[in-house]
């Protein structure tokens, strides 16, 4: 089934309707509040940027587990340049630092044929070591800085659609079924957006256009599917891969910038918290496609935001997951996949039972909801994931794969 704009809009509306019903049943108002939606968007951006970085690299056939390290470099660059020359310079520096990490990965994997995982793991270690080292040299002794933190960076500013905040806010306050929920979601998505969020959102259609609608993109993806065939058609595979991995690093660095400049306003050690790995997971979840990746990142961001807003919202999320699993079961049963359908139905029943028998999710466990959900979705949905055929394979010019 192809995703047309009409279908996408219909799907989004159905999701809001479902959320609205769950909110009304559970009484967890935070589920569709503009605050939760806006927090979800902010939390999804770093994951989405790391995932987009992974997409560029893996589409060109280079597995990039070093995204985490490139993101770390990005956060440091944003803090270092940001506190001296302002947040926009910080953004550029984050891009450059991430790209430098990407260049190292590219040189190791493309020119020296180092195993992609080895190089990525090494970059993750190196990035942490290098940033700790540099923090000691540059931040310690500065006002507001320490060996673990940069001085404060100015606000990068936010942007929103004019004239909609007040009416949407008024509608949201009415608590009408569906109407107020829609208003809350729209208000969260359209007002008070960080500039970095806006840039991140624009990068998705841009990536799709470049990779799937231009000759450059076709060549780049050819390097990921069959470098030997690409070579025979005159594509400079080395150069393509180098460019793709450098862009990948830059995007991961941008994800780091969103943490250092939008989510907070300084660099801090350990700020990435494994989001590079989660971004990689979101990309695999999204089947190496920008649209799927955006969905995966949104899922992580939404669950993360609800978790930050307390146990009641996460408890309501259990009901939502139960309903989604039940819908999946119906779909599978109608397609005469009896065993899968029954398993899904069983999971849905289990979720519902947990929802009905408990009052709230223990605070320590709320953080695991996005991960459990991802595992469930991947395990129960039909597996049609296909990675680029030559992803992670070594390639040397003139040697038949």
């Amino acid at each position: 089934m192809r995703l047309t704009p009409a279908r996408t809009a219909l799907g989004a509306f159905a999701l809001v309707a479902l959320l609205s019903i769950v909110r009304a049943v559970s009484g967890a108002g935070d589920l569709t509040s503009s605050g939760a939606v806006s927090a979800a968007l902010g939390l999804a951006v770093p994951i989405a940027m790391a995932g987009l970085g992974g997409l560029w690299s893996e589409r060109a056939g280079v597995v990039n587990i070093g995204l985490e390290g490139m993101m770390v470099l990005g956060t440091w660059g944003a803090g270092w340049a940001g506190y001296q020359w302002g947040p926009w310079t910080g953004l550029v520096a984050a891009l450059a630092f991430g790209a430098a990490g990407g260049l190292l990965h590219a040189i190791a994997t493309v020119l020296f044929n180092v195993d992609h995982i080895v190089s990525g793991v090494a970059i993750n270690i190196l990035a942490v070591g290098a940033t700790q080292f540099l923090s000691g040299a540059f931040f310690a002794g500065q006002p507001g800085g320490s060996t673990k933190q940069s001085p404060t960076v100015g606000d990068i500013g936010s942007v929103g659609l004019p004239f909609v905040d007040v009416p949407l806010g008024r509608l949201e306050g009415k608590h009408w079924l569906l109407v107020s929920d829609l208003a809350g979601v729209l208000r969260g998505l359209l007002t008070d957006l960080s500039w970095i969020t806006l840039i991140a959102v624009v990068l998705f259609p841009l990536t799709f256009f470049v990779l799937w609608r231009t000759a450059f993109g076709l060549r780049l993806r050819a390097c990921g599917e069959s470098p030997v065939a690409a070579e025979s058609l005159g594509v400079n595979v080395y150069r393509m891969k180098l460019v793709a991995v450098v862009i990948s690093g830059g995007l991961a660095g941008l994800g780091g910038a969103s943490l250092a400049l939008a989510a907070s306003n300084f660099y801090q050690e350990g700020q990435t918290g494994g989001r590079g790995y989660i971004g990689l997971a979101a990309m695999i979840f999204g089947n190496w496609r920008p649209g799927g990746l955006a969905g995966g990142a949104a899922l992580f961001g939404f669950a993360d935001a609800l978790q930050l807003r307390g146990g009641q919202a996460v408890h309501a999320l259990l009901l939502l997951v139960a309903i989604l699993l039940a819908l999946l079961a119906v779909w599978q049963l109608r397609r005469r996949r009896a065993v899968r359908g029954l398993v899904s139905l069983g999971c849905a029943g289990g979720m519902l039972a947990v929802y009905l028998l408990t009052d709230s999710v223990p605070s320590q466990l709320t953080g695991s909801v996005p991960y459990v959900t991802t595992l469930l979705v991947l395990a129960l949905a039909s597996q049609r994931l296909r990675m680029p055929a030559a992803d992670g394979m070594p390639y040397r010019r003139g040697e038949d794969g």
């Binding site: 995982i117 290098a130 080292f133 997971a281 595992l375």
Partner: protein, 368 residues
């Protein structure tokens, strides 16, 4: 085979690690000079510190669990499975094993057996989730083990609260599982004279696991099948291997080995799983497995080197040298090892071509 060629091959084999060490030392020296410290003096301090018996005990102790973590990762690698989840597996296993060990009183061999069995079973089963998902639902083990790591972190936070598995530790605001009684502790071995502290007794198990790994993978039919599946799944299927079963079994073995990672520390020093139990060993294990090129002896050397670097960072801190230099050294070692092997491989290919060329031109002229 001619003896002359053997000498050359030995030289080439030794060349790669030597080259790697040189590259890593070079990168570290640059970092040291940039921060205004003398590389030579720093190296001397590190080596001098490592010569102390007390440091050597610490190095062996740390290496004992690094080794287990790296073997757990390497089992996966041999079958082309990337088990990033060793970290979550060992932490969950150590917590539940500590809780089980602290809850009962048994005669020593039984008590130890119980703790280690729980650890291996928990680690194995946690990893088997990823194995089953991979084999029967096609879920990439990379993504599922990352998710399982995050889930185990949450699960541990949930279980390690007073009223569930934890009690308050006396004299501090730390909490942990009830301490394991003496019958469940592993006595240390006085391996290094003059150190004052013994080496973890569990180091014996680490060595045994290494031997078992070597025998299982390189000397048994099962190991052959596992490696064959890793090299080429279709070829393995053609020779009658059940690939799905292999995936699950490999993850079980890897996770079982990961379950042991927390044991040297738990049974040799802390006797309780508390909030400050070491974390992140699983990720170190990945780096060491890569460093040792999945070879049982190579991994042992890698674990010792890594743990030497870790320990010597302590002295650097005291001497005013930024101890992050050590992390840079570790990262550049991993990268330079593989770069060095690739360079040596290309160089030996060139040598081989030249040798063949010389042999051909020296004998009968080849057909035009």
């Amino acid at each position: 085979m001619k003896p002359a060629l053997d000498v050359r091959r030995v030289a080439l084999t030794a060349l790669a690690p030597a080259l790697a060490l040189l590259i890593a030392l070079g990168v570290s020296a640059v970092a040291l000079v940039a921060s205004g410290h003398s590389p030579l003096a720093t190296m001397q301090q590190m080596l001098g510190y490592a010569a102390l018996p007390r440091t050597q005990v610490l190095i062996i102790n740390t290496a004992s669990y690094y080794y287990l973590a790296a073997v757990a990762v390497a089992i996966g690698f041999r079958m082309n499975l990337f088990n990033i989840g060793v970290d979550g597996q060992y932490r969950l296993a150590a917590l539940l094993a500590a809780a089980a060990g602290g809850a009962v009183h048994l005669p020593r061999p039984l008590h130890l057996l119980l703790i280690v069995t729980v650890a291996v079973a928990v680690g194995g089963m946690w990893a088997a989730i990823a194995g089953l998902l991979k084999a029967y639902r096609g879920v990439s083990e990379v993504i599922s083990t990352i998710m399982l790591n995050a889930i185990s972190t949450a699960l541990i936070a949930y279980l390690l609260t007073p009223g569930r598995l934890a009690v308050a530790t006396q004299g501090s605001n730390n909490i942990g599982t009830p301490p394991i009684p003496a019958s469940g502790q592993v006595p240390g071995i006085d391996l290094i004279p003059g150190a004052g502290t013994p080496v973890f007794g569990f180091v014996v198990v680490s060595v045994l696991v290494g031997v078992a790994y070597a025998v299982l993978l390189d000397r048994t039919r099962f190991g052959f099948d596992l490696r064959a599946t890793g090299r080429s799944a279709p070829a393995a299927v053609a020779s009658g291997v059940n690939v799905k079963k292999m995936v699950v079994v490999a993850m079980l073995l890897s996770g079982g080995c990961a379950g042991l990672v927390g044991m040297p520390q738990l049974l040799g020093a802390s006797y309780s799983y508390s909030l400050d139990f070491p974390t992140g060993i699983g990720f170190t294990g990945i780096a060491i497995a890569l460093l040792g090129r999945n070879h049982p002896v190579g991994i042992a050397l890698g674990a010792l080197l890594w743990s030497f670097l870790d320990q010597s960072s302590q002295i650097l801190d005291l001497e005013g040298v930024p101890k992050e230099v050590v992390t840079i050294m570790q990262g550049s070692t991993v990268l330079s090892v593989v770069v060095a092997y690739e360079l040596v491989r290309r160089y030996s290919q060139v040598l081989e071509r030249r040798r063949v060329g010389a042999a051909l031109s020296g004998g009968e002229p080849a057909c035009a």
